[in-house]
Amino acid sequence: MATTSPVPEDTSIAERSTADLLVLVSAMPSEQLARALTNLEAAFASESVIVATPNELTGEPRRLRMISTQQSSSGWALAPTDFVNAAQYGREHEARAILLLGPGADSLSPVALRGLADAVLKASIDLAIPHYSLPPHAGLINSAILYPLTRAVFASRARFPLAIDLGLSLRMAEQLANVAQSISAANQVEALIWPINEAVAAGFTIDEVDVGTRTMPQPSDPDINSILSLITGSLFGDIEAKAALWQRPRRPSPARRMANDVPGDDGTADVARMVSAFQLAYANLQEIWSLVLPPNSLLLLKRCSVLDAASFRMPDNLWVRVIYDFVIAYRLRTINRGHLLGALIPLYLAWVAGHINVTASGIPAERHIEAVAAAFEADKPYLVARWRWPDRFNS
């Protein structure tokens, strides 16, 4: 690797020169890239910035210094190679901060870019996580599972644990690169890296930066089944790997001011379809759920199953228990993990249906999500207790 030899012969002086900020941009159509670069120029007028992109380096000359990277594999989220690259270029250019921008980063405003970079450059934060303002019914897996679970388990209130833009300090980047390398060494192609979890494990500082609206890239495979399995499976696996860490008592990070809801239409999403999906699953997946869920939860699910679509609610407590019991079952391999995550989908849809109904009744979505997250936090002892003593009887 270039870093080990003191003077890499094939890199010119210009490229080796240092920079305050290194920006890694994911591959994107050239007009998007142009927009993103313009935004970057606007955001960092005075700093020395190096932009690394897998796109071909053509087009009009810019003030920014450009270097090229290889294409990363995944299309919609940050891939392990992105982190490896980030750490490598960061070292080479002795960057003080690294900005990782995911696909569709052109929709990030210069202010947002500035904010992410400043958190690292000025506030000496190791990991700056963006806080997107999304429309009410977007990023629901994140709202239902990722955010509350990460918040409860890792005591980090970052609203988007799987954010696709990140501001990193160099040591954070190297930490993530180490993880990424061990993942790619293990050939786990589809694995995701959870920056927050790694930062918490390493004891680094995390901060959230408001970045406003951003168009989120569409996952390569828009099928909810595969997305849910991939993401939650990855998170569950990471929770299993860091068991000793998160079972320590941990001070929750201070609460942020309530995020403002992006006002959207009170869209009439197809709740009925999701509820019927849940009811169908309730009628058919009993045998599988009963392997995972305790009788209490099954009873509550039964009550839910008779609600009609308009009044459908998934009680927060129930949802918490469901997720926690699935985490436990994932760890214990109670049933095949693919099947397990598959069986979670109807329950998730039920939560979404309940969530939409709650928001339709006038409660802001963010408030409901915060309540869910608080319920997750409150019931964490249940997770720890079952994790440590997974006998089924008292569950």
Partner: protein
């Protein structure tokens, strides 16, 4: 060889019991000893006839076992040298990981494959050497190997049926097919019936009847499913299909139009 057996049989035919009436002692003893001689002779000849086959069977088995051991040892060395295990274990998802190491499995498969090969070759050699018409208990030997295979088939079939049934159930539920349970049951029984047919076929029990019965049963199941889909839950199916189509339509809309995006649901 066949010829000699034939002639022995002919001899036995010729020396059928003496006509009634001649009951002298000497002749009785004579007859008895002759009968004994003949049966002894017959068995011996048969043994002689079988022995080479048997020998061939054992030789084949021994040779292939040795070859198998050699091959498995070689493969183990080779795989160990290329660090096959550590490479493989990372690639397979952990919940699929078998209890023994992959190179172990490969070398074992090689070994048992060779042994099986030897067994088959030996049996076929034996078969060719042995008159198929003779109904000696020894002929159960090849049958036994079939039985072992059949048991393995059965176990595999049941495991696959269970797994498939569950997979189908979950994915059908997630595809919101109302007849998910029927489908999963159908798949399960399909596999089970198929397994049963294969097992019976493998055991060479029933012959054509099995195939026939399997065809009927299989056809019946497929027909039932078709009817279930086609008639019983026609509108359910159509509704669910429609909603899927609609849903797909929504999805494609998302990236295009920001205004519609706020009204629809995005899971991620």
């Amino acid at each position: 060889m066949l010829h000699r057996i034939d002639s022995a049989l002919q001899q036995a035919d010729v020396n059928t019991p003496a006509p009634p009436g001649s009951f002298d002692n000497a002749s009785i003893w004579q007859h008895m000893s002759a009968a004994l001689h003949q049966s002894l002779d017959r068995v011996l000849t048969q043994l002689i006839a079988v022995l080479p086959g048997l020998l061939a069977f054992f030789v084949a088995l021994a040779i292939f076992s040795l070859a198998g051991a050699l091959l498995s040892w070689l493969s183990r060395q080779l795989l160990g040298w290329v660090k096959f295990d550590s490479r493989v274990t990372h690639t397979i998802k952990s919940d699929w990981a078998p209890s023994s190491s992959p190179s172990e499995i490969i070398s074992r498969v090689l070994f048992w494959g060779c042994v099986l090969l030897g067994l088959i070759i030996g049996v076929s050699a034996f078969d060719t050497s042995y008159a198929t018409g003779a109904a000696l208990p020894i002929s159960l030997l090849p049958y036994l190997t079939h039985a072992v295979g059949a048991v393995l088939l059965l176990i595999a079939g049941i495991l696959i049926a269970r797994f498939l049934a569950r997979s189908v159930l979950i994915s059908a539920i997630n595809a919101q097919l109302q007849y998910a349970r029927i489908l999963s049951l159908g798949v399960k029984w399909l596999v089970l019936v198929l397994t049963a047919a294969m097992v019976l076929d493998h055991l060479q029990v029933g012959g054509n009847v099995v195939e026939l019965a399997f065809g009927i049963l299989f056809g019946g199941i497929v027909l039932t499913l078709a009817l279930a889909v086609g008639l019983g839950s026609r509108d359910l199916v159509s509704r669910s299909l429609e909603s899927r189509v609609e849903h797909a339509g929504e999805r494609t809309n998302i990236p295009d139009d920001a205004t519609t995006a706020s009204r629809t649901i995005r899971h991620f």
